[in-house]
């Protein structure tokens, strides 16, 4: 056996298991979802048959689900609200994570691993439990709500409810996803050669210019991967709005979950999933296109 063909065989042997796994458990289910979005719902959930069962029930393929989506602006509104919440959560995460990541990257080498450990420590407990903890923290009897409402009362204002509000949803989203922003940013910032900042300073850049002209542009890959790791999960998240949000704070995640588990309209749930996926892919394409244009123009 020649060495190259042996290499090829090794490559196949290594890549085959994950490839097969992804084919079986990602690509095939994804295709089923695409197919489902063009079908009728079954009587008690599930899907209607593709061939005529002979009893006058709906069967075969249809565009009805997509028509239903566009018929009611409510769905688009939920989409827009979800994108707004995801954007806000991503931005807040970025603003909070950047200084943390920067401080970890700047701290002495021996301490960095410990600080990173602190960042990922919350993963040690189940995230639902941690979200329930926020129910207590934000609850009306908790110190936080009392303090705020106390202050409001002195100005003669009505008390507010922190829990079951868009605010609580945002707090939960940011809290859960913050490490996903810190880690890629840290990984990026840690690789920055301190001599770049020395050079910038030497060449006349003040602290502000050193950040915006050197650190920030060089950290963009970290910013992008962190943002993707926060934005996309937040977009599909249903547990946090379920627990911390009010009835009017429904997001796409909740809507899709309800289609499958509540209303039992699988095809419409599938349709919503497909539209959501397409939106995310479109955003990703736009981002990469914008990145290319930026680099080309500069």
């Amino acid at each position: 056996m020649s060495e190259t063909s042996q290499n090829r065989w090794t490559r196949w042997a290594i890549s085959a298991p994950p490839t097969l796994f992804l084919l079986a458990f990602f690509l095939v289910p994804a295709l089923i979802v695409v197919l489902a979005s063009f079908q009728f719902p079954g009587e008690f959930g599930g899907l209607a048959p593709l061939t005529d069962p002979g009893d006058g029930r709906e069967h075969g393929f249809t565009l009805e689900n997509y028509q239903f989506f566009s018929s009611d602006f409510l769905f688009t509104e939920i989409f827009l609200r979800s994108f707004l919440v995801a954007s806000a959560a991503t931005l807040i995460c970025l603003l909070m994570a950047y200084p943390v990541a920067w401080l970890i990257a700047k701290s002495p080498k021996q301490r960095r691993d410990f600080l990173v450990l602190l960042v990922i420590l919350p993963f040690a407990s189940n995230f639902l439990i941690r979200v329930y903890a926020w129910m207590i923290i934000l609850g009306p009897q908790a110190a936080l709500a009392r303090l705020i409402n106390g202050v409001l009362a002195t100005f003669g204002l009505e008390p507010v409810s922190l829990l079951f509000s868009p605010f609580a949803v945002l707090v939960g989203m940011v809290y859960v996803h913050l490490p996903f922003m810190i880690l890629p940013l840290y990984t990026n910032l840690e690789k920055h050669d301190p001599v770049w900042l020395d050079a910038a300073e030497d060449l006349g850049a003040n602290a502000w210019q050193r950040f915006w002209r050197v650190t920030w542009p060089l950290s963009l890959p970290g910013v992008f991967s962190g943002s993707a790791l926060v934005f996309i999960p937040v977009l599909g998240m249903f547990a946090i709005p379920d627990i911390l949000g009010g009835t009017r704070d429904m997001l796409i995640g909740n809507l899709i979950k309800d289609q499958f588990l509540g209303v039992r309209d699988w095809p419409f749930g599938a349709t919503l999933s497909i539209i959501l996926t397409l939106c995310v892919l479109l955003l990703a394409a736009l981002a990469s296109w914008a990145g290319r244009v930026r680099r080309g123009a500069s």
Partner: protein
């Protein structure tokens, strides 16, 4: 008034004194070199001039003004870093434009000056390339162009040729000299490579353990080292342990342990009984066949123990009959000739009275 004046600066890191009471001044237009082994404090001095570090004592003056309260970004001093420190997200042109943009110069002027400076370092073609797309030598030129583009009062160069291979390094040395003459910017150059320092500098400060051991023009540093360290550090040198026997009539009679008596040129302050070293360059020691008549004052017979052929010259390790070892060098001035003597050949080494340089310990 000197352009740059270093007055009694000291820098401590904990217990360790990296720079000990160093003073020197650099004239405008000069190519000044800080030369010394690693850890001698030369880079620390450079960082203090650039403004990345402050001396614990002493002053650094530029045009007579104390720089103590001027941060690095405000000093009209640029640095060419050892690792070049090019900004990886900017093209060659944008890297060179960086100091001009920071200075708030208008875009048209920036374009003109970037083009002009890139032409000076022969990089006009590469303006659109990113640093990772160009070679080490080209990066070096970009760093130079970036440092020179807005005409600093002083350009600091921290071992800038250290990462280049020998051929390229020699090319860049010639170019550095030419460039410095063209732009007229004062260079303060830091290196541990003594041939580089000798080749490039107008003046050299030889440093060791935080102190300046000798500050002079290259030829005097090479020929008249102030002490054993300088003699040993600069070039190859035979260092003969001597004690002074007599100092008169323009001659110094010296006793060399294990060799015998030799004669050297007199120095004013040598008294009988003084201990010191005689620095004798290999190229000052003539090597010839043992039966050649030696007219020189100092002449000894011996045997070739070893030789090292480096192309233009061959160095010979000679063991004298009394066991003493000397290194001599002879140019291979005959084509095809790699050496004049073989291992074990009987030879005679000799040097004139004025050849050696006596240094008191």
């Amino acid at each position: 008034m000197a352009l740059l004046e270093i007055r009694n600066i000291t820098r401590r890191f904990g217990e360790f004194e990296a720079v000990k009471d160093v003073s020197f001044s650099v004239e405008s237009g000069e190519f000044f070199t800080l030369l010394g082994p690693s850890g001698c404090g030369k880079t620390t001095i450079l960082r203090m001039i650039a403004g990345f570090d402050l001396p614990d004592a002493g002053q650094i003056l530029l045009d007579g003004r104390d720089l103590a309260t001027t941060p690095a970004e405000k000093r009209p001093i640029h640095t060419v870093f050892q690792s070049y420190a090019l900004f990886p997200h900017l093209t060659v042109g944008q890297n060179v434009a960086f100091p001009l943009r920071m200075a708030g110069i208008n875009p048209g002027e920036i374009r003109r000056r970037v083009r002009e400076t890139l032409a000076q370092v022969h990089l006009d073609e590469l303006a659109e390339h990113f640093p990772h797309e160009i070679s080490g030598g080209q990066k070096q030129r970009v760093a130079l162009a970036r440092g020179l583009v807005n005409r600093p009062r002083l350009l600091l160069l921290d071992e800038p040729l250290g990462a280049l291979d020998l051929k390229l390094r020699e090319e860049m040395q010639l170019e550095l000299i030419k460039l410095q003459r063209e732009v007229g910017v004062t260079f303060v150059f830091v290196t541990h490579a003594q041939p580089e320092a000798l080749a490039l500098s107008h003046r050299i400060a030889v440093m060791n353990q935080g102190r300046v051991e000798q500050l002079d023009i290259p030829a005097r540093i090479y020929s008249f080292p102030h002490n054993r360290f300088v003699a040993d550090f600069i070039g190859n040198c035979n260092l003969l342990q001597v004690s002074v026997l007599e100092n008169r009539e323009g001659n110094l009679r010296l006793a060399v342990a294990g060799l015998g008596e030799i004669l050297a040129a007199a120095v004013a302050d040598a008294k009988p009984g003084d201990l010191g070293v005689l620095a004798l360059r290999p190229e000052q020691i003539r090597i010839g066949a043992v039966d050649s008549t030696a007219s020189a004052a100092n002449s000894f017979a011996g045997k070739v123990r070893d030789y090292l052929y480096v192309g233009d010259v061959t160095t010979y390790q000679v063991t004298l009959d009394n066991g003493y070892e000397l290194t001599s060098l002879r140019a291979n001035d005959t084509a095809g000739r790699a050496r004049f003597f073989e291992l074990g050949d009987r030879v005679r080494v000799s040097w004139p009275v004025e050849a050696g340089h006596y240094v008191r310990d």
